[in-house]
């Protein structure tokens, strides 16, 4: 904690930038910024309110020079304690930065400041017939800056992706006060995407270029009731794996239904245990109708007891009112509601739900289950009274048990709410110490002094007594050979040229020892129900696409030349960012790193997967990748043959690229010429 005298000398210069009335240290302001929507509490020492985006960088420079920690904050609605100033210091109140700079429907981009409320943006886009895809439940109040910080999702992200799939470019003030503008299309590692979901620990977004989408002409919303949750979840898996991509696929259990009055509003049959709400969108009415009929058939095959498609806008609104009314109804039953946020691969939903229910009943807690079924994202809403310490303890314990169960089932601990401070401890259950150390080193590369939202996301001290045994990375024989070889080379300091299929770099071009990944060309895992594929990096894209086609699946990547790993590492198709769920990486020293996984949503830890997009093999070697695929039924889906290969742009590494290189490959052993070594 810094003392007031640390602020004293810089107070005047801060006041000169933001105005004296916006540098507040009075007791009231401090108290009012010591909480957010979560349960953690800590007092900042000063609250700085910004009235123009260009005030941020000079203020950060001053705070950095004075070694005062800072936490960017907007609406303060996050559910994980992310905006709490754990080390005191300054709260950067960015809420007044709420300009919508530009709405460009031709280039399909909206340029906004971080304080713009999600719904305000939607309202501004509506007259043009456009929308911004992420639609978190809090969209009435949560801001774009906060949505970026937490990588927010929402019901619609099943079809349109989460925040990180919908950002084009970011202007960022680094923890040292420099202004950077990064796009995921920039040559080299994707620093922009790496910022998303970093909860303000890597820098502060001051301007965002967001992807906007033309509103589909028609919506078709249906409700299906089941007498068992298991059957409902089976139907979910079947719907998705049959190639249907709903705009939203939401599920409610009987407690939620009861609370929201769903049983009587829809006259559901007695004994209803689960309700699915399935919404389709598109511009072809007949097709939508057909799809809704297919959904009805699938539900019937899984013993649905009720199915109804909304015939009017009014009926549609009734369905959503039931879904959206569930949380409010719970919020009336007790002073506090804890919304858990675990994620599992979709086919594991029945098991996850069963375990969640057992945990809740063993801790004698009342909760409703309410979730984004299509994404495998579970939101048990546990009600309690935050003043009852015993009850709070039980709620916390139950919450942790639920997260552990998600981890055991191959899932993760947060789909969209973030880690903040409240789930920090669970990071050590999900990741081994090596991966945590890796995350820590990434943070240090961006924020060497540890001033930007300190002590968030990563556990302070690693306590792996509670580590949930996760299956060790099942690396293929080929991958193990690569790791062995790298270890040997690292010992002798031999530099490596990473060679995929040889379409991008020729072995003769550099005087370093090639390492060929050509034989790393197997399809490792095709999960038909989860719609994911895991394949080794050396497999050619055309070959991967062919094999998938044979099995009745498709990959939304154009028929590129070159290998899977090469395509990712050279970023020849930047949109691959939306398909990429996980990577196995061989680091320069021969250790393996498992990043991401099979879940569609994952905001646990830094999105390091993105750093390897465009890393050109200089940060680590991609051994295998897990990607989202489509069922071939989606034929005619324009996403199947997206516009072709882009020529990789010439990459000139700059400051932050070097910083990361220093952390990831300090000896400059991999593709050394990129970062100035001759090899």
């Amino acid at each position: 904690m810094f003392k007031l005298d640390k602020l004293g000398p810089i107070r005047q210069s801060l006041e000169a930038i933001v105005g004296p009335e916006n540098v507040r240290t009075d007791e009231a302001e401090i108290l009012m910024y010591s909480y957010d929507a979560g349960m953690a509490r800590a007092r900042p020492e000063v609250v700085l309110r910004f009235t123009a985006a260009d005030q941020v960088a000079p203020v950060i420079k001053i705070l950095h020079a004075a070694a005062i920690p800072f936490v960017p904050r907007l609406a303060g609605t996050n559910l994980s304690g992310g905006t709490i100033a754990l080390k005191g210091g300054a709260i950067l109140n960015l809420s007044a930065l709420k300009k919508i700079h530009r709405i460009d429907t031709e280039n399909r981009v909206a340029v906004v400041e971080p304080g713009v409320v999600n719904l305000e943006l939607q309202n501004a886009l509506a007259p043009f017939g456009f929308f911004y895809a992420p639609d978190p439940a809090s969209q009435k109040v949560s801001t774009i800056g906060g949505n970026i910080g937490e990588n927010a999702g929402g019901p619609q992200c099943l079809k349109y992706g989460v925040t990180s799939d919908n950002v084009e470019k970011l202007e960022v003030v680094t923890p040292e006060g420099e202004v950077k503008t990064w796009s995921y299309r920039d040559p080299g590692p994707d620093l922009m995407s790496f910022m998303i979901g970093s909860e303000g620990t890597l820098g502060i977004v001051t301007r965002a270029w967001l992807k906007i989408i033309k509103k589909p002409e028609y919506l078709q919303t249906s409700a299906a009731a089941f007498s068992s949750l298991d059957n409902a979840m089976l139907a979910v898996t079947k719907i998705i794996s049959s190639g249907i991509v709903p705009r939203a696929l939401e599920a409610m259990d009987s407690v939620s239904l009861e609370a929201a009055g769903g049983n009587s509003k829809l006259s559901l049959p007695n004994g209803t245990e689960a309700l699915l709400i399935i919404e389709l969108d598109g511009n072809d009415r007949t097709r939508l109708k057909e799809t809704a009929e297919r959904i009805e058939t699938i539900c019937a095959q899984n013993s649905s007891t009720y199915f109804k498609t909304a015939g009017t806008e009014e009926e549609r609104e009734t369905l959503w009112a039931i879904r959206k009314g569930a949380y409010p109804a719970m919020a009336r039953l007790a002073p506090n509601v804890l919304v858990e946020d675990g994620v599992v691969p979709r086919p594991k939903l029945p098991e996850a739900l069963k375990e969640t229910r057992e945990i809740l009943s063993s801790y004698k807690l009342t909760a409703s289950l309410l979730f984004h079924a299509g994404d495998g994202n579970l939101h048990p809403n546990i009600i309690f009274d935050g003043r009852d310490m015993q009850e709070v303890k039980r709620v916390k314990k139950a919450g942790y048990e639920i997260l552990k169960s998600c981890i055991r089932l191959g899932g993760t601990i947060s789909g969209e709410h973030g880690i903040g401070v409240e789930k920090r401890v669970a990071m050590a259950w999900l990741y081994d110490p090596k991966t945590l150390y890796f995350f820590k080193s990434l943070k240090t590369a961006f924020d060497p002094e540890g001033l930007s939202n300190p002590d968030k996301i990563l556990p302070i001290s690693v306590d792996n007594r509670h580590q949930v045994p996760v299956a060790p990375a099942d690396l293929s024989a080929g991958a193990k050979t690569i790791l062995d070889e790298l270890r040997l080379r690292a010992k002798s300091g031999t530099k490596t040229l990473v060679l995929g299929s040889g379409t991008k770099i020729k072995a003769s071009a550099h005087k370093v020892r090639p390492l060929r990944l050509k034989n790393l060309n197997k399809l490792l895992d095709l999960d038909r129900e989860n719609l994911t594929v895991k394949a080794e990096a050396g497999i050619k894209i055309t070959e991967l696409k062919r094999q998938l086609r044979e099995q009745g699946f498709a990959l939304a990547v154009p028929g590129l030349e070159g290998s899977l790993g090469g395509t990712i590492a050279a970023k020849t198709f930047p949109e691959i960012r939306s398909l990429l769920l996980g990577l196995d990486i061989a680091m320069a020293d021969g250790t393996a790193l498992v990043l991401g996984g099979k879940t569609v949503k994952n905001v646990a830890g830094y999105d390091a997967v993105k750093l390897f997009c465009g890393s050109l093999g200089a940060y680590g070697i991609i051994l295998s990748a897990t990607l989202k695929i489509l069922a071939a039924d989606s034929a005619g889906d324009p996403r199947l043959e997206p516009s072709g290969e882009k020529k990789a742009l010439a990459f000139e590494p700059r400051d932050y690229h070097y910083r990361l290189k220093k952390v990831l490959d300090p000896e400059n052993l991999l593709n050394p010429w990129i970062y100035g070594g001759t090899g």
């Binding site: 007791e27 108290l31 009012m32 929507a37 809090s138 009435k140 949380y327």
Partner: protein
């Protein structure tokens, strides 16, 4: 009582100046339980005008709730620190409308205010409230004196003499700026003498008109219009010859005085009821009406008065909700009102949930000339004395309202509360002089005809 240990915000000697319990949407609650029902989701923030204009948690709905809670929990030590947070509350209640659990933030903020040392204790406000309570005729004389000074072009002299403060209703100070005409005969004086509105000789009445201070002292034409509209649409009725409803005393720290006002009105109601049977008590200032609908809350610690207050509150109705849309038809004259829009007075839409009825009536009367006002349920910044006590914030809020009005190109803005009438007209006069705000009753009186 709460099962948790909490700080006392006040000593037992000032219990009379506080509410015993709050009557919330979820039932009767202690202050601590009511404030703790807020789980800090923040959904109220984007409807809170003071938060939206500043982005400061400290002057937001959630912040105000938390502040009172922190005081109760002893985590905030000094009530005085809460002054800015609590005094900037418009008491508009938009937060409660947005809240899933309907946490009564305005009531919680008021309870907090009452804990601030010295709040409501100023000599002048005490004296004025007491005069209004015990000797309304003397209050009238002072007020007329102020009005005469204004009439003679000596308004500044009145200001200089501190007369507005003396009257304890600082909104009146603004009224003298914003109101063009000044009444020298108050509505109650006129209505009292109207034999048609007298209770004498009547054995029943459909309604009793309650004249709130605004229509009574500042806009008698509104009160007279309301009486005519009620007669036209509901048949025979009476003037209740009421006292002030007590809202100002309630909001400015004099809760025990507010109870006295309430008792006077309840007694008067009971007296009339004995001879007239059941009738609706209809007022034409939504702030006062909304407050009277919550009279029961004033007496949660008083078993004798509580049921009587509840019975009174049940009879209270707002002029905005009482005229059935299907019974109204437009007269030709409505053309002259130009484009018509409606501003939801906070205490009508948030305080009483009245949105549909006045809109339906106005839409019917306005026909093609109707325009929906964007953000119509955003406070105008008037909020009783707020425009005076927090003038900078009030102006900023007003500016947004005026921008929205301008976007409709309205000539006529219909409102339902005195404070809105003063505030919006003051703003329009300066920024957008082709438009005027008029009271719902006046509009109906001019342009509405009864069907059948």
């Amino acid at each position: 009582m709460s099962k948790y240990e909490i700080n006392e915000l006040y000593g037992s000697d000032s219990e009379d100046r506080h509410l015993k319990t709050l009557l919330t949407d979820l039932g009767e609650r202690t202050l601590y339980d009511a404030a703790s029902q807020c789980n800090r989701c923040g959904y109220c923030e984007t409807v809170c005008p003071t938060y939206m204009l500043t982005g400061r948690e400290t002057i937001s709905a959630r912040g105000r709730n938390q502040f009172v809670r922190l005081l109760l929990e002893g985590k905030a030590k000094n009530t005085g620190n809460a002054a800015e947070a609590l005094n900037t509350c418009l008491l508009c209640g938009a937060c409660t409308s947005a809240c899933y659990a309907k946490v009564p933030t305005a009531d919680i903020a008021l309870e907090g205010r009452r804990s601030i040392t010295g709040y409501g204790n100023s000599f002048f406000s005490k004296l004025a409230v007491e005069t209004l309570l015990n000797a309304p005729h003397i209050f009238s004389i002072w007020l007329k004196f102020v009005y005469i000074l204004k009439y003679l072009g000596l308004a500044r002299l009145a200001g200089w003499l501190g007369l507005y403060d003396f009257l304890g209703i600082p909104a009146l100070a603004d009224a003298q700026k914003a109101v063009g005409k000044i009444p020298l005969r108050f509505a109650s004086e006129i209505l009292k003498k109207d034999p048609a509105l007298s209770a004498r000789g009547k054995t029943g009445a459909a309604w009793a008109y309650f004249a709130p201070c605004g229509p009574n002292y500042i806009f008698p034409e509104v009160a007279l219009a309301t009486a005519r509209v009620l007669t036209k649409h509901l048949g025979e009725g009476v003037f209740i010859e009421n006292s002030c409803c007590g809202l100002l005393a309630n909001n400015y720290g004099r809760l025990e005085d507010a109870r006295e006002f309430a008792k006077k009105n309840i007694l008067r109601y009971e007296e009339l009821k004995a001879s007239l049977g059941d009738f609706a008590v209809i007022g034409d200032c939504s702030s006062c009406v909304a407050f009277m609908k919550t009279y029961e809350q004033l007496f949660t610690g008083d078993e004798a008065w509580r049921p009587r207050a509840a019975a009174f509150a049940k009879a209270v109705k707002d002029i905005l909700e009482i005229i059935p849309p299907e019974k109204v038809t437009s007269s030709e004259k409505a053309q002259s009102a130009g484009i018509i829009t409606y501003h939801d007075s906070c205490r009508a839409c948030h305080g009483q949930g009245i949105r549909y009825e006045p809109r339906s009536v106005l839409k019917k009367l306005a026909g093609q000339q109707w325009r929906e006002l964007p953000e119509s349920d955003w406070c105008c910044g008037g909020a009783g004395a707020y425009a005076f006590t927090q003038s900078a914030m009030s102006n900023a809020i007003l500016k947004r309202k005026l921008k929205n009005i301008a976007s409709t190109q309205a000539k006529t803005v219909v409102v339902g509360a005195t404070s809105c009438l003063i505030q919006i007209n003051g703003g329009l006069k300066a920024a957008y002089p082709t438009a005027t705000a008029i009271h719902y009753s006046v509009f109906l009186d001019k342009f509405g005809e009864r069907i059948g």
